[in-house]
Symmetry: C2
Subunit: 248 residues, 2 copies
Amino acid sequence: MTVYKLTVQYDGTRYHGFQKQPHLLTIQGVIEQALAKMTKGQAVEVIGSGRTDAGVHALGQVISFNYPGNLPAISMLRALNSLMPLDILFTDSQIMPVDFNARFAVVSKIYEYRVALGRYTNPFLRNYTGHFPYPLDLEKIRQALRDLEGTHNFTSFEASGGVIKNKVRTIYQAELVTENYPQELRFTFHGNGFLYNMVRILVATLLEIGSDRRPVHDLQRLFEVEDRQQARVTAPASGLFLQKVFYE
Amino acid sequence: MTVYKLTVQYDGTRYHGFQKQPHLLTIQGVIEQALAKMTKGQAVEVIGSGRTDAGVHALGQVISFNYPGNLPAISMLRALNSLMPLDILFTDSQIMPVDFNARFAVVSKIYEYRVALGRYTNPFLRNYTGHFPYPLDLEKIRQALRDLEGTHNFTSFEASGGVIKNKVRTIYQAELVTENYPQELRFTFHGNGFLYNMVRILVATLLEIGSDRRPVHDLQRLFEVEDRQQARVTAPASGLFLQKVFYE
């Protein structure tokens, strides 16, 4: 048995998320089917660094698995790529110590969220952005991002369906990228963990702050009230990208 | 009756081309359905500057139609956009003299073709590029593009199915854009007319020249032999964009 760690990009548009589900097209399901072809039917369980939802994309998702054989790392990458549809691409491959697990060894992650601005969505970006048509005060968003950096209780920013008891997470860096402004904004969030839908709820709340629907320091209040009903909105899955996963 | 001229962008991935076909999703069909809603059922025939094939995109396709009413141009644009799916977007609207016809008044067009290079296709560009994994000599491609500029008989570069007798066209400008090289190449072709699949056959032939599968001046020979069997390859629809249509 050999343990592989692979980095994978995917366009999540067609998929019902990362995690395997019966009768639905998922990233994990497609990768496990390819591995089963390579092992002539022996099941190989794929472990992801975490789930991504339906329609969410990855630029650097990381997976690991135990493979019954010992291909060189580059051969594993090429074999899997030859079996993938065009919307999934492995970009890196390493052989790891036998106790490596792509989920438990995660130290931190970076998510990126892309927002298309203006009255209409660019037809070519509809699956790769959220859309926000109202005027924004970028300085207010930047102030709110400074409130976000640090360690907070994110109960107000978790969708129902989350199963983890501890809601405290640390955001090391929260940035606004304005390279393509005013056509597009990008948010990046580097943190030690993210609750269910947390990035999408944060982005929707930040856009409300930037468009004067909430006070500029409302994040501070939301951390304290620990009530999801207060942060009511969730930005669409299409704008969210898992950008990078860091390990020890 | 008022004659409108509208500019429209579309992601052609989901469509069976521009031209209306029974029981198939087409750009013309979707626009005519929207217009029929606006007229409460009265049919309005949409005229495009030309067809685009299944999977081909447009950044600046132009259409015209006779509308039984006299909305301001901007209201027509907004009404149509409110009825379009997210992969079709009108970007400009004008009221024209009653004899304007978006097909017959065309003076010239610019097509762009995007080629993704490297071993693998970027999963996010699979529907918006052709893919070419072999090394290229850009200087040879540039030499071939100089052969292409001018007036030639393009019989060798027309797919079967073309119906126009005169195969002589003028290419005013043929350029290689290397802004994102070595990840991507873009070709632009500005000409007074294009035969069926002509751009896609030209691009595939240019890539053969750039990868030493054909002599650098083979276009000159192909113009002379007037034989489609000599230019055997066609680049995929996904890389092709109708960029701009010029009128008198």
